[in-house]
C-alpha cells in the first residue's frame, strides 16, 4: 500500500488547503479514500455525529502534479484511511509558500500521512518541514460503510440562495431555536422557518430556480411530474448541523443546490470546478 502525491502549483496548493479546511470545519474525523483518479473525504452517517453524512470528491489530477498510489491489492486498488482533517489543514496552512509539497503515506511510529514541504530560503539549501499526521488504516472488510451515497429519491430539488446570505440568517435563527425547517417547492421558492412558543420567523426566497434533473433524475419519475409546483416539501433539521455546513464554506461554489425528501432528509450539494461536496442532514421529528 503506497501513496505519494506532489503539488507544485501554488494555486492548486491553496485550493487543496481550502478544501481540507472546509472539511475540517464539518467534522472532526473522517475517512479519506484514495483511488487512482480521485480522493474522497467521507463521513458516514452515524448516531454519534447526529446522523449527518458527507461525501466530498476531488479529482486528483486537478490538484496534484504527481500522483502515485497502490492500493491494498490489485483488485481493490484503493486506500482507506481515517484522518483528522484539522491536522492536515494545520499542516498545509503553514506551507502555502512552499516550492513543492509532497503528501505521502508513511509509517513512522504509526501509519501517517506525511506532508513534506520544501520552503524557499535565502540560503543554498532548501528548508524542509515535515508534518506527520497519524492516520488509521481502515480494513477492507469495513470499506462498504464508505461507499458513495445514493442520490436520495428526493421530492424537490432547488438551487440554494447565496451561501453567505443563508449563513447570516441561520446564525441569527440559531439564537432563537434549535431546529429549523427548510421547505421548498418546484417553483423556485424556499423558506427557512423557525418556530418557538413565543415567536416564529420565516425567511422567504424566491426565483431560486430548480435544477433540471428535478424532472427526470428523480427515481420516482411519474410522481414528481405530477407534483404541484407550488406545493412545499419540508424537513426539520438540527440548526447547528446546517450552521456547521454553512460556516465551513470558504469559496463560492459554481453550483449549490438542495434536495429535500419530505420529512426525511436534506441533501446539500456544492459543486466547484474540481471538487464536489455532498452533505446529508437527517430530518428530526
Amino acid at each position: 500500500m503506497k501513496f505519494r502525491g506532489k503539488i507544485i502549483d501554488v494555486a492548486c496548493l491553496n485550493h487543496f488547503t481550502r478544501v481540507i479546511t472546509t472539511i475540517s470545519k464539518l467534522t472532526k474525523m473522517c475517512v479519506l479514500r484514495l483511488t487512482p483518479d480521485n480522493l474522497f473525504f467521507v463521513l458516514s452517517g452515524k448516531v454519534a455525529n447526529g446522523g449527518v453524512s458527507m461525501w466530498c470528491e476531488l479529482s486528483q489530477a486537478n490538484f496534484f502534479d504527481e500522483y502515485q498510489m497502490e492500493g491494498v491489492s490489485s483488485e481493490d486498488n484503493e486506500i482507506c484511511l481515517e484522518v483528522t482533517p484539522e491536522n492536515l489543514s494545520r499542516a498545509l496552512k503553514t506551507v502555502q509558500n512552499a516550492k513543492a509539497v509532497k503528501v505521502k503515506l508513511t509509517k513512522k511510529h504509526c501509519p501517517c500521512l506525511t506532508i513534506a514541504a520544501e520552503l524557499p530560503t535565502l540560503s543554498s539549501v532548501s528548508r524542509v518541514v515535515t508534518h506527520d499526521v497519524p492516520v488509521d488504516v481502515i480494513p477492507r472488510r469495513l470499506w462498504h460503510e464508505f461507499k458513495e451515497p445514493n442520490m436520495p429519491d428526493f421530492d424537490v430539488s432547488i438551487y440554494l440562495p447565496p451561501l453567505k446570505t443563508m449563513k447570516n440568517i441561520v446564525d441569527r435563527m440559531k439564537n432563537l431555536s434549535n431546529f429549523l425547517v427548510i421547505e421548498a417547492n418546484l417553483n423556485g421558492e424556499m423558506n427557512l422557518k423557525i418556530e418557538t412558543d413565543l415567536v416564529s420567523v420565516t425567511t422567504h426566497f424566491k426565483d431560486l430556480g430548480n435544477p433540471p434533473w428535478g424532472d427526470d433524475a428523480s427515481q420516482d419519475g411519474g410522481a414528481s411530474q405530477s407534483r404541484d409546483p407550488e406545493a412545499m416539501v419540508e424537513a426539520r433539521v438540527d440548526i447547528r448541523r446546517l450552521q456547521q455546513f454553512l460556516m465551513g464554506q470558504q469559496v463560492n461554489p459554481s453550483k449549490a443546490m438542495c434536495n429535500i425528501v419530505h420529512q426525511r432528509v436534506v441533501h446539500l450539494i456544492l459543486l466547484h470546478e474540481d471538487v464536489s461536496l455532498q452533505y446529508f442532514i437527517p430530518a428530526v421529528a
Binding site: T106, K107, K108, C112, V129
Partner: protein, 392 residues
C-alpha cells in the same frame, strides 16, 4: 532612582516589558550602576528573562545611593502604563521613572504631546535578588540568526504547543515538537523543520546535542527581536542545562534562560559508547525520493476480503515495481522481532531513558529503532533527518 527614557526608546522599554510578561507575573527591578535590570521568572522557575539597559539607553540615569535597591511589582500594572504600543510611538515624548522610597512606589510619568502628563504610581515590594546562573561563554553550541528565521520556524508549530526539541549536527539544526512519552503518542501530529547552517549568521556546533524546552515562553523574545530587528543568539549545551537566547545591542541586552528536559544519567554513558560511529549525513535529495522507498508493512488492512483466497503475504509480493524485493518486508518483520528481543536485553543492563527512546523512535524510519537499525535493508527509506545522537 531617577531615570528618563526618551523618544523611540520608550517603545523599546515597553516591548521589553511586554515580553517579560510572557514569562512571569512579576517584574523585578534592580537599578545598578552599570545597567537597569528588569527581570522576570515563571512560577516553576523553569524560565527566566532579564533585560539590562545601560545608562546610555536613558537620557538621564540616576540610581539610588546607599545600599542596593531591589523591588518587584505586578507586571500587569507596568504593562498598563505602556498599554498601546502604537499610541506610545505617536504621542509619548519621554518617560520618567522615579523612586519614592517612603511610599514604596515607583512613579512612571509619560510626557505626551500637547503637554499631557500621564502619571502612574505603582507600588512595589522589596524583593530578594533574582539572578539565574548561566554562562553563555561555556556553552558548546552557539548560534546567531536574524529573528525572521526563528519566527518563520516557529510558525509551523501550533500556538498551543508546549515543548519543542532542537537537535544539531555540524551543518543542520532540526526543530520538532516534543510529544510527552505518557501522552497518547500514536495520535499526536509530529512536525519537524530542518534549518541549514548557512541560514544562520553564526553556527558553531561543539556537541551534537538535542535539547527540549518550552516554546511558549520563548515567543515573547521572538516578538521583541522581530520588532527591534536585533539578531538572536542561542547558546546551549547538554540536555538538562538551560538554553539561553539573547539579543544585544550597544545599549541593551536581553537574555531568556529556559530550562531543558534532562536525560537519564545512564543515557549519557550510552552516548559516549556510541560516539565513535558518526551519524550518516541527512540526505539532501528531498526532491528525488522515490515512491519505491516507501513500503509499508500494513497489518490490519490486509485482512482478506471475501474474494481473496491466499494468505496476507502474497499481496506484498505483488508490489512488483518496488526496488526493494518484497521479501525484504517479510525479513524486516522478522528483524523487528529480533530487535525487540535485543531491546529487552538492553533493558536489563540500563534503564532505557524515556527521552532517548522517544528521540530514536522519531528519527527512525519504518520500525521502532534501536542501535541495530543500520543492518536493516529498509534503511534505504529516506530519512529526512537522522538521529542527532549516534544511534543508527
Amino acid at each position: 532612582m531617577d531615570c528618563v527614557v526618551t523618544g523611540g526608546n520608550v517603545k523599546v522599554l515597553a516591548k521589553a516589558i511586554h515580553s517579560l510578561s510572557r514569562i512571569g507575573d512579576e517584574l523585578y527591578v534592580e537599578p545598578q550602576e552599570d545597567a537597569l535590570a528588569l527581570r522576570s521568572v515563571n512560577s516553576s522557575r523553569s524560565a527566566y528573562a532579564c533585560f539590562l539597559f545601560a545608562p546610555l539607553f536613558f537620557s538621564r540615569y540616576t540610581i539610588p545611593s546607599g545600599h542596593a535597591f531591589r523591588c518587584k511589582m505586578a507586571i500587569k500594572s507596568v504593562q498598563a502604563v505602556f498599554r498601546s504600543l502604537a499610541s506610545l510611538e505617536k504621542t509619548v515624548e519621554k518617560c520618567h521613572i522615579e523612586l519614592d522610597k517612603q511610599k514604596s512606589r515607583l512613579t512612571f510619568t509619560l510626557h505626551c504631546k500637547h503637554g499631557l502628563l500621564k502619571t502612574h504610581n505603582l507600588s512595589f515590594q522589596d524583593s530578594e535578588s533574582l539572578q539565574a546562573v548561566f554562562d553563555k561563554d561555556s556553552c558548546a553550541n552557539v548560534f546567531r540568526a536574524q529573528p525572521r528565521l526563528l519566527v518563520d520556524t516557529v510558525v509551523h508549530f501550533p500556538p498551543s504547543l508546549e515543548e519543542v526539541t532542537v537537535a544539531v549536527s555540524d551543518e543542520r539544526m532540526w526543530v520538532r515538537n516534543h510529544v510527552d512519552e505518557e501522552a497518547e503518542q500514536s495520535k499526536a501530529m509530529l512536525t519537524e523543520l530542518c534549518l541549514a547552517s548557512d541560514e544562520f549568521d553564526h553556527f558553531a556546533v561543539g556537541a551534537h546535542n538535542s535539547i527540549t524546552f518550552c516554546l511558549k515562553e520563548l515567543r515573547g523574545l521572538l516578538v521583541f527581536a522581530e520588532s527591534t530587528g536585533l539578531p538572536i543568539s542561542m547558546y546551549f549545551d547538554e540536555p538538562g542545562s538551560p538554553v539561553v537566547l539573547s539579543v544585544t545591542d550597544s545599549v541593551l541586552e536581553g537574555d531568556f534562560v529556559l530550562a531543558t528536559l534532562s536525560d537519564d544519567p545512564n543515557h549519557r554513558k550510552n552516548n559516549s559508547r556510541r560516539a565513535h560511529t558518526p551519524p550518516p549525513p541527512p540526505p539532501d535529495d528531498f526532491m528525488n525520493d522515490d515512491i519505491d522507498a516507501y513500503l509499508i508493512a500494513m497489518d490490519t488492512s490486509i485482512a482478506p476480503g471475501p474474494s481473496a483466497t491466499g494468505p496476507p503475504t502474497p499481496s506484498l509480493a505483488r508490489s512488483t515495481f518496488s526496488k526493494q524485493p518484497a521479501a525484504a518486508n517479510h525479513k524486516t518483520r522478522i528483524h523487528s522481532e529480533e530487535e525487540e528481543e535485543e531491546e529487552e536485553d538492553e533493558k536489563t543492563d540500563l534503564d532505557r531513558p524515556p527521552n532517548k527512546k522517544f528521540c530514536s523512535l522519531f528519527f527512525g524510519s519504518v520500525l521502532p529503532s534501536s542501535s541495530q537499525m543500520s543492518t536493516q535493508p529498509v534503511t534505504s527509506q529516506e530519512v529526512l533527518a537522522s538521529d542527532s545522537e549516534d544511534d543508527t
